[in-house]
């Protein structure tokens, strides 16, 4: 058998495949999206089925400010990526820190909301079906935000130390993709929980 023929075929056409990081992240996003979907379904299915305790209408107020913060962080992270892409490390640090700040405002908003719900309204995960589905859905999202914030902070530290060069732009893109996904999920959660469900 002439193995050489197999391995030196003259295929001169450029052979470019998508990057591993992006494809992997897209796959993960599909998987995560279905996890969120199940929690959303449970939330909607149990709307108004609680036998006791508070209802969404009694206790939820629409978190407009923090939502605006979170959604605008999608823009800042995008700007950070293109700064990295153009090799402008300083600029990237600024956009990254802006993203982290916006995200932190959002998560503080959630923390305050939960604090009030628990100590003022007495709504916990055990209270009723609303508490169960609300805390798990919003909590699942918050977990994703916190994880994203950690990763973004690491990226920020790297950029401060000058490690965020153009070679890293692919990785930054993967991270930004995740962050856009977290924002997109919030749009759904916001609509289902705070607008339609109330």
């Amino acid at each position: 058998m002439n193995e050489a023929a197999l391995f030196t075929g003259d295929s001169n056409e450029a052979w470019e495949l998508p990057s591993r990081g992006i494809v992997g992240m897209l796959c993960l996003i599909v998987a995560e999206a279905t996890i969120f979907l199940i929690f959303v379904v449970a939330y909607v299915y149990y709307l108004g089925k609680s036998l006791a305790g508070s209802t969404p209408h009694d206790v939820l107020s629409i978190p407009i400010f923090t939502t605006i913060c979170l959604l605008s962080s999608s823009i800042t992270v995008h700007l950070a990526v293109s700064a990295v892409h153009h090799g402008r490390s300083m600029l990237a640090s600024i956009w990254l820190v802006a993203t982290v700040l916006l995200g932190t405002i959002f998560i503080s908003g959630t923390a305050m909301e939960w604090y009030h719900l628990i100590y003022r309204d007495g709504l916990t995960i055990q209270t009723n079906l609303f508490g169960t589905t609300f805390y798990s859905l919003v909590g699942l999202h918050a977990t994703h935000v916190i994880f994203g914030l950690l990763m973004l902070s690491f990226a920020f530290l790297f950029s401060l130390r000058g490690h965020l060069t153009t070679e890293q732009s692919n990785r930054m893109e993967v991270l930004a993709l995740y962050w856009h996904f977290v924002d997109a999920v919030w749009v759904v959660v916001f609509l289902v929980v705070y607008v339609l469900g109330r």
Partner: protein, 556 residues
């Protein structure tokens, strides 16, 4: 003098054994991880097989007291859970891990460390599941092994009905297996999308790679819901939420939906790789290219989609609306179209071919025949009125084992014999292989053909014993003896694997005269797979090399 020498040798030996162990535990090489997956699932196959045998011994005669009712509940739960999550899923990802990079001319999977993580995750999941036998009141009281069925219906899993930790073991083990499956699936899709060697266009990928890709994509959208449902169940059990708590207005039917949204496509996830193996093995031993490659790809994608929308055929007896029942019956029966296409294409591949009846081919032919029969009983239980009669009876158990054993396990055996030379460098023993095939075939049909009958006579599943007057005894005795024959055949198989590893004749790179890329490497392949990245120009790269006068690349 002599003593110290022996001692030194011993130490050297021990060190090298440690070294080998260390190499395996820390490896990120896709072939070693693939083999570890396969090894661990073989181990679990034997354990779950023993559980099946014990159940069949218990059911062989009426009023048997071989095991207690409680132990029986544990047996069928552990058997089902192990078979699906720790045998089926592991073995499939095992073969996938081993073969996919070789078949697409890559050096490794896209994320080697994620790959190792996935394996250890599922392995510890399985260990945890069995560790439950020593928890609680220990082994003789059978510990706190799960006893809620592999479907774990609410509210059986709620604290009041399932005190202690049995359900916690179950849900943690399944969660670990789910995380691992999602990781592996992400890895497979990414590898296929971004690691193919030059010239390996989507239209030239081996069908096995196509089917694994479809299967992995199904895993994202079905295993993740299961993971979500496990998280909910854990919240219910640990922090007192009410997802499936009927006392607080929660719904048991919601769990059923969540479970079967995963559970039904899961059987297709398990059978996709069986199709994949058939797609490689049947053409090679018919000495013909597969018939209708594009139709095969389309049918697989079609099956993937259809299987996502039929889950509630497991819930006809729950009392859904007539509209829902009708929808799910129609959706279920639609799957006959793409599967029909597949069967026709396999037959067309065999047609007029020079068929070589090697052991892998025998298993593949058994698969074709049994898969067809399983499809027929599938159509029966897929029709709601029929299902109302038979749901929860042994007819259903017979039907799904026809698929799980008659199709999936048969194709797994075929895959073992087919790729054994590649993985070990030695041929498996053909004579033992044929003994294995014929005995297993007989045992399978004695068990599962006859199991339909007590089902029709009204024998419910999950009962631990029955009275003599019911008239089920003869059938059960036959069924149980068939299970014994299968056990003997499986022993021959295991013996063959071990014996051939040491004594089998050397295989050489391409013992079957096959045509996909993995056969262009030495057997077993070197650590880096390919010294030079291959370039392919057709669907059968090795065929082109061996038959330049009839190269596929002329036809494309």
């Amino acid at each position: 003098m002599d003593g110290t020498l022996v001692e030194a040798e011993e130490i050297a030996l021990r060190n090298s054994a440690l070294q080998v162990l260390h190499n395996w535990v820390t490896t990120v090489d896709h072939k070693k991880i693939g083999l570890m997956y396969i090894g661990s699932s073989l181990l679990f196959l034997v354990i779950a097989g023993i559980e099946a045998l014990v159940m069949r011994i218990q059911l062989a005669i009426p009023n048997n007291t071989f095991v207690s009712p409680q132990a029986f509940n544990r047996l069928f739960t552990m058997h089902g859970t192990t078979m699906v999550f720790f045998v089926g899923m592991s073995i499939l990802f095992g073969f996938g891990n081993y073969l996919i990079p070789l078949m697409i001319g890559a050096r490794d999977m896209a994320f080697p460390r994620l790959n190792a993580f996935s394996f250890w995750c599922t392995f510890f999941g399985g260990v945890l599941l069995y560790f439950s036998y020593v928890g609680g009141n220990g082994l003789s009281g059978a510990g706190s092994a799960p006893d809620v069925g592999w479907w774990a219906y609410a509210p059986l899993t709620a604290r009041p009905f399932s005190p202690g930790h049995s359900t916690d073991y179950w849900t943690l083990a399944v969660l670990l297996s789910g995380v691992s499956s999602i990781g592996s699936a992400v890895n497979i899709v990414t590898t296929v999308v971004s690691m193919r060697c030059p010239g390996m266009t989507l239209g030239r990928m081996p069908l096995l790679v196509w089917l694994y890709t479809v299967m992995s994509m199904m895993a994202f959208v079905t295993v993740s819901p299961l993971t979500a449902a496990q998280i909910m169940l854990m919240l219910d059990r640990y922090v007192g939420s009410h997802f499936f708590d009927t006392q607080a207005g929660g719904s048991a039917v919601l769990w059923m939906h969540f479970f079967w949204i995963f559970g039904h496509p899961e059987v297709y996830i398990l059978i996709m790789p069986a199709f994949a193996f058939a797609n490689e093995i049947i053409p090679v031993f018919s000495r013909k290219a597969i018939f209708g490659y594009p139709a095969m790809v389309a049918a697989s994608v079609g099956i993937g989609f259809v299987s996502l929308s039929v889950w509630a055929h497991h819930m006809f007896t729950v009392g859904m609306s007539a509209g829902a029942n009708t929808f799910f019956v129609l959706a279920t029966l639609t799957v006959a179209i793409p599967t029909g296409i597949k069967i026709f294409n396999w037959l067309a591949t065999l047609w007029g071919g020079k068929i070589h009846f090697t052991t892998p081919m025998l298993f593949a032919i058994g698969f074709l025949f049994q898969f067809l029969l399983a499809g027929l009983t599938g159509v029966m239980v897929g029709a709601a009125p029929f299902d109302w009669q038979l749901s929860g009876s042994y007819f259903v158990v017979a039907h799904f084992h026809y698929v799980l054993v008659g199709a999936i396990l048969f194709m797994l055996f075929a895959a073992f014999y087919y790729w054994y030379p590649k993985m070990t460098g030695r041929m498996a023993n053909e004579a033992l292989g044929k003994w294995h095939f014929w005995l297993f075939l007989i045992g399978f049909h004695v068990t599962f053909d006859f199991m339909h009958i007590p089902g029709i006579l009204g024998m419910p599943r999950r009962i631990y014993t029955y009275e003599a007057e019911r008239g089920w005894m003869v059938w059960n005795l036959i069924v149980s003896s068939g299970a014994l024959i299968q056990a003997v055949a499986t022993l021959i198989f295991v013996w063959n694997l071990i014996w051939s590893y040491f004594k089998g004749p050397l295989a050489g790179p391409d013992p079957w005269d096959a045509w996909t890329l993995e056969w262009s490497t030495s057997s077993p392949p070197p650590e880096y797979n390919f010294a030079i990245t291959p370039v392919v120009e057709s669907r059968r790269p090795l065929w082109d090399l061996k038959h330049p006068e009839d190269s596929d690349s002329y036809y494309e």
